[in-house]
Symmetry: C2
Subunit: 329 residues, 2 copies
């Protein structure tokens, strides 16, 4: 069977707005150094005005994954909400340029497009201020059943769970995928997100085919401080668990089929932002092209290695080319 899309990614539609600034700038504008802070519209507007020369780069976890999938030659659809403002158009254009299909209707009113205002200090730290805006307003009406059914895999970002409207949209998308006999993949996104929604995420498992989690997220899901305990819990589950462990590599488990794969060496780790997003991109490309689980994991590791070797969360080098060089395609 052929599909119009390999993967439909559902997630927050965010534009990263990056500026340079020193510690004095952070102090003056009350920005917590080196961490991610959620901010409201008033604060976002205030900070945005205060930032000197900025670079804008489309981001968002699942959107980054779709960008990686496209870099591998895969066909992706992204579903996420922006407003029809300057940043929203910029977000849409970035996906179109990469060849990722993006059809979600832009909001005419309401909150502005989500942005992550990032100040990079001379010491390399990134201080992030995230305003979720329009992204949280994705609603069931934004989910088109036919589009979801046209993708072999529906991939959902756990971060979305924080918005009640978004949760209803996710449920609708999952239902559409299930009815069409498609596979459903989910990423736990963040250990704090898991802590907030642990019970719901664990209930959700029975409806999933693939779970992406890094070590901390997997431990948080099962309230353990022992990686192997979370692995054993997921071996008892019916789906495929793709567990990433930074420099320790990854473990892919489908019941008794367990693969322990090494990380791809990187000369120098520059910025780990997007490692999980790109791992998912590589894995899902492999999965939707009928590769075996170990091969999927290796594609994931390769994509993650590319993105941590430079600043930013999307690939700068063709992943298709890198994968071919590595003998994986």
């Amino acid at each position: 069977m052929t599909y119009q899309y390999d993967v439909a990614g559902l997630g927050n539609a965010i534009v990263d707005v990056i500026a340079s600034g020193d510690d004095e700038f952070l102090r003056k504008h009350n920005i917590a150094k080196g961490v991610m802070t959620l901010i409201d519209d008033f604060r976002a507007d205030q900070l945005y005005r205060a930032l000197p020369e900025v670079v804008e780069i489309a981001g968002g976890s699942a959107a980054n994954t779709m960008a990686g999938l496209a870099s591998l030659g895969g066909k992706g659809l992204f579903v996420g909400k922006v407003k029809a403002d300057r940043l929203g158009r910029s977000f849409a254009e970035s996906l179109n340029t990469l060849g990722v299909r993006y059809t979600t209707a832009m909001a005419d009113g309401g909150a502005p497009t989500a942005c992550c205002l990032i100040v990079v200090t001379p010491d390399g730290h990134r201080s992030m201020n995230t305003y979720l805006g329009a992204s949280r307003e994705i609603a069931p009406d934004d989910i088109h059943k036919g589009e979801i059914a046209a993708a072999q895999v529906l991939y959902i970002e756990g971060y979305l769970w924080d918005a009640p409207e978004a949760k209803a949209a996710i449920r609708k998308a999952m239902e559409a995928a299930r009815r069409a006999g498609r596979k459903i993949a989910f990423t736990l996104s963040d250990p704090f997100c898991v802590a907030r929604w642990r019970d719901e995420f664990r209930e959700l498992l029975s409806g999933l085919d693939i779970l992406f989690a890094n070590e901390e997220e997997a431990k948080a899901l099962f309230e353990t401080d022992d990686f192997d305990a979370s692995l054993q819990a997921l071996r008892d589950w019916s789906g495929i668990a793709a567990l990433t462990r930074s420099e320790k590599g990854c473990v892919i488990a489908r019941g008794g089929e367990v693969h322990v794969l090494d990380a791809v060496p990187v000369a120098q780790v520059i910025d780990t932002t997007g490692a999980g997003d790109q791992f998912a991109a590589g894995f899902l490309y492999g999965f939707t092209h009928s590769f075996d689980l170990a091969h999927c994991g290796r594609l994931g590791a390769l994509a993650a290695a590319e993105v941590i070797a430079h600043y930013g969360a999307r690939p700068e080098t063709s992943l298709k080319g890198l994968a071919a060089e590595a003998g994986l395609l």
Copy 2:
């Protein structure tokens, strides 16, 4: 069922003879720096005389494992050959002091007791010269079926495979263990040893219950440069594979039951000699005391962490105490 011994270890009986020396000393005596060289009796005698003040410590891979087992409170028997000379008596005394039962008849004639002449240079490198002597002369007559049957597990060192007489002794011990319904464990010892005996070791697998290997040895066994490929080959095997990966921890697999366990952190790695021997000690203690596989692996990791934090291949701190502190006993 209770057993007289938890484990019967079969291996080379070697005394380490350690001296300090500088690079000039190495050059003068033609000693290859930082590696292990097999030497003959003439060279052993010559070097032994040349070494300044020496420290003698009983060693040997399986004997070290029995020392670790004793340190955990386990009951061990060691089977290995020495000559009734000064080093031979010293070897026997070291095991007796630790509470490891050692009854193999000392040879009256023939080659002297095996020794490993080690020169430690001021930069911390260990240059090893191993003379196997009497150790290689272990023969079927040295195997007492009743003793083997009295141990819950027979543990065999792969290094022994190099001597034809020893191989016949191993076969006899395995036969005795099998007839008595005991478990048989084997360590691959060394990637070069695996390369020499790959086909025989792979045939041997069908008669084994537990296989210990580090990553390099496991890869050598299946002629792959990919750890996961060796893991998949061993998942298809009927026994328990205990695979150690240095700082990456270990993987324990029994078919579809796969555990991925972290290494126990060590403030400073001083000397990795004996890490595999002590891992086996911890694992076998757990196995013979009915712990689950993950628990066995954790005991192994704990014992390995103790021994790499100091010079020498046997524990200096009570492993029983450390395991109790760690909540593993």
